[in-house]
């Protein structure tokens, strides 16, 4: 029996009368710790304060975020435990909702009208299921994937009823461990019986990860034909087509996804970027404008939207002399004003804005003002203390080059290449612009030394291994992936007693070289973990 008295619940509902009636239903079931909020924004705040066991959210929340955006943001910020129950209530058919990412789906939908008997029936089943699988969820949340995988085998036997859910969690674990072939087999075994959307999307993602683009394309086209509303399939297909060099097809694919659901920032951004590459500037501008508008109440609001708009206008004006140019230039100027206001405390944004503004002036023939921007940008760049992301770095390098400062452009690009060595897509774009390829050679050499070190490590020749690792970092002193990989192995050696304490100080000094990493960087979490680990290993000596 579930002990409802101990459960905490949050109701997200903008319609006061509904909220009240929902609360009465929960009370009737025996759930008394119930909080009410009336908007997505206040829901996010409520979840920041406490982790609820049960969340009931209306899909349609009036102005601001809708229920799906709330769930997406909670997942994104890890403010909802995976063993919590999230039910989306809705007055309409759920079609519109399943169009979002398949991994951001609620545990269940309840279509209005429903009574307390329905709610109780649904809740009790979901809670039972989450309780049966709670250990598995906890292991996954903690990242203990091997243990989680072991547990799935056991659970499949004890709970045949939840077989599909367990299979899905099992495949999630395999994907997170980069075991794409095993995961693909699992997805395929599900599909062999039935074409189920999550399995098809899962299989396609594995194919993409294994760079089997032709196969991914087949699976995705099949998915779209069977389930035209699963928009994730279009996004992945576009990715796949880009890899296959089919840029126009990729644009068309995204175009049909946007026609079905225009309100996803990431998709509009991608459409804009591809359209711009395809030199369809008006289309690109329309998409970027949409991303600015959508950003207003989303966690995915990004400075990129504004800069993309301005930079695309500059490109458009350079390429053609059209009557619409005046209008878009004016708009770009207005957007840049908003942008400065919005991101006034962010130095990287200010620099990117200055370079974008300079180029906008340049294409209008206002050379003197453009030069002033360029000089200001040079100064700002000297004072930047945050690592540039591959996107910002590339954008700035091209911008400075267009403004006539080849030297700064080269310096930015070199730094960015070194910091983002593992980002092959970026490298491919950046290399044609890079004059001095030595940074590339050094990166490759460092990688070789790193793998050599790992080989020595496996052969238990620890001192030789350490030598290789140090040499790797000496060769590429600011290469983030080399530093992270190397420090990880070194600390592991220390922990198992195969290296002395001096190695910890060395690791800390390596990590300090890249401590200007932006908090938004996808590698920041790993960096932080390693830093913490190194610090904890160092402490005993200081006492």
């Amino acid at each position: 029996m579930t002990d409802y008295l101990k459960k905490t619940a949050l109701i997200i509902e903008d319609f006061a009368e509904f909220a009240r009636s929902l609360k009465a239903m929960l009370n009737e079931i025996g759930i008394v710790q119930v909080d009410l909020v009336n908007s997505g924004e206040s829901a996010i705040r409520a979840c920041d304060e406490k982790l609820y066991d049960i969340i009931l959210s209306d899909y349609n929340l009036g102005h601001g975020k809708n229920g799906m955006q709330v769930l997406e943001e909670l997942h994104f910020n890890k403010r909802v435990r995976s063993d919590a129950v999230f039910i989306m209530t809705t007055a309409e058919n759920t079609t519109a909702m399943v169009m979002g990412a398949l991994e951001n789906q609620p545990d269940s939908y309840l279509t209005k009208p429903f009574n307390s008997a329905s709610l109780r029936s649904r809740l009790s089943k979901l809670i039972q299921k989450k309780e049966a699988l709670s250990k598995l969820y906890q292991l996954i949340d903690k990242g203990q994937l091997n243990k989680a995988l072991e547990l799935t085998e056991q659970l499949k036997e004890s709970y045949p009823k939840y077989k599909m859910t367990i299979l899905k969690l099992e495949s999630d674990c395999l994907v997170r461990k980069n075991k794409f072939s095993e995961a693909a087999n699992l997805f395929q075994s599900v599909i062999d019986d039935r074409p189920i959307p999550w399995a098809m999307i899962g299989l396609a993602k594995c194919c993409l990860a294994k760079r089997e683009y032709d196969q991914a394309e087949t699976v995705l086209k099949d998915t779209i034909q069977n389930f035209p509303m699963i928009l994730e399939a279009y996004d992945l297909l576009a990715q796949c087509q880009l890899k296959l060099g089919q840029k126009q097809e990729a644009q068309d694919t995204l175009e049909s996804a946007v026609a079905k659901s225009p309100n996803v920032i990431k998709r509009q951004t991608q459409l804009g970027e591809i359209a711009s590459e395809n030199e369809q500037f008006d289309r690109a501008l329309k998409a970027f404008k949409q991303t600015i508008r959508l950003g207003n109440n989303s966690v995915f609001k990004s400075p990129d939207s504004y800069l993309n708009y301005s930079n695309t206008v500059s490109k458009k004006v350079t390429q053609s002399d059209e009557s619409t140019n005046k209008t878009v230039i004016f708009e770009a100027e207005e957007f840049l004003k908003d942008f400065y206001k919005e991101y006034k405390d962010d130095r990287v944004c200010k620099l990117r804005g200055t370079v974008a503004e300079g180029n906008l002036l340049r294409v209008q023939g206002r050379q003197e003002e453009a030069q002033l921007c360029m000089k200001s940008a040079q100064k700002q760049y000297q004072n930047i203390d945050t690592m540039l992301s591959s996107k910002s770095g590339f954008e700035l390098a091209i911008g400075m080059k267009n403004l006539g400062d080849e030297e700064t452009a080269e310096a930015i690009l070199k730094d960015t290449v070194e910091h983002n060595f593992e980002d092959s897509e970026f490298l491919e774009k950046a290399l044609p612009f890079l004059k001095d390829h030595s940074v590339l050679e050094q990166g490759k050499k460092a990688h070789k030394l790193n793998s050599q070190g790992i080989r020595f490590f496996e052969q238990k020749e620890f001192s030789k291994a350490i030598e290789c690792f140090y040499a790797a970092i000496d060769t590429a002193p600011k290469n983030v992936s080399i530093i992270l990989n190397t420090v990880q192995v070194l600390l592991k050696m220390h922990q198992s007693g195969q290296a002395d304490d001096s190695i910890v100080d060395k690791c800390l000094s390596f990590l300090t070289r890249i401590n200007n990493m932006s908090h938004e960087d996808h590698r920041y979490h790993r960096f932080q973990e390693l830093f913490r680990l190194a610090r904890s290993l160092q402490l005993p000596d200081t006492f």
Partner: protein
């Protein structure tokens, strides 16, 4: 082109009108249920009226869902979202939705579901069908309903009642009801047409789902059967 955009607009108008009406209905039904909890009906006559409120609001809701559904079917906008579900869980959810009405009308409902039976279907769509059929069964049964589910080269769900059964003309012509809308027959035909289409939407290889009507069954009344491969 202009034609196409008009289509799209009408679908949006219909959808948002249905949305509003369902919201109103939701509030209405919840208010009725809360009133009943606070002041339980004591007189037979009051219970009967309460049952009417319950039943008719449920019918209205089903009609709205169907209206939108059939419009979308016609415009090929009705997507299917397949997943695996535990049949017992699914059916007990559907029954729970009728709990207040069943109590008000003193109708007993039993389920007989094969253990660990799962099915692969679109819950939204199949729930609409089952809802309609249970609603109808409640209307025509004397005092019992039995929902059974089993595996017979696919998932089979049956809803049995102990009423008078379907009229012979309807049984004889059921394929016509299912395959097309006969505007002279009214809503029963519409419901069957919709149910038939939804069943057909569920395919595995070359087999499609289907529905059928019969009399007799385990309670001696009407039987509605849906097969999903």
């Amino acid at each position: 082109m202009p034609n196409e955009s008009e289509h799209l607009d009408f679908s949006l108008i219909l959808a948002s009108a249905v949305h509003d009406m369902k919201n109103s209905l939701s509030l209405l039904v919840n208010a009725v249920n809360e009133l009943n909890q606070r002041y339980p009906c004591e007189e037979q006559e009051d219970r009967r009226k309460h049952a009417i409120l319950q039943y008719e609001s449920n019918r209205l809701n089903a009609a709205l869902v169907q209206l939108l559904g059939i419009y979308k079917l016609d415009n090929q906008q009705l997507p299917i979202n397949l997943n695996y579900f535990d049949v017992d869980d699914f059916l007990s959810d559907q029954v729970a939705a009728f709990q207040p009405l069943l109590e008000a009308k003193s109708i007993g409902i039993d389920t007989d579901i094969e253990e660990d039976l799962d099915g692969c279907f679109d819950t939204d769509l199949i729930a609409t069908v089952i809802n309609n059929v249970i609603g109808n069964a409640i209307r025509y049964t004397k005092n019992k309903i039995l929902i059974s589910a089993y595996f017979d080269s696919g998932l089979v769900i049956e809803i049995n009642d102990d009423g008078l059964g379907y009229p012979k003309a309807m049984l004889d012509n059921q394929q016509n009801f299912i395959k097309s809308i006969d505007y002279s027959t009214g809503s029963t035909g519409l419901g069957l047409y919709f149910a038939g289409k939804i069943a057909e939407y569920h395919k595995k290889g070359n087999t499609s789902g289907s529905i059928e009507l019969a009399n007799g069954g385990r309670l001696g009344g009407g039987v509605f059967r849906i097969r999903l491969p």
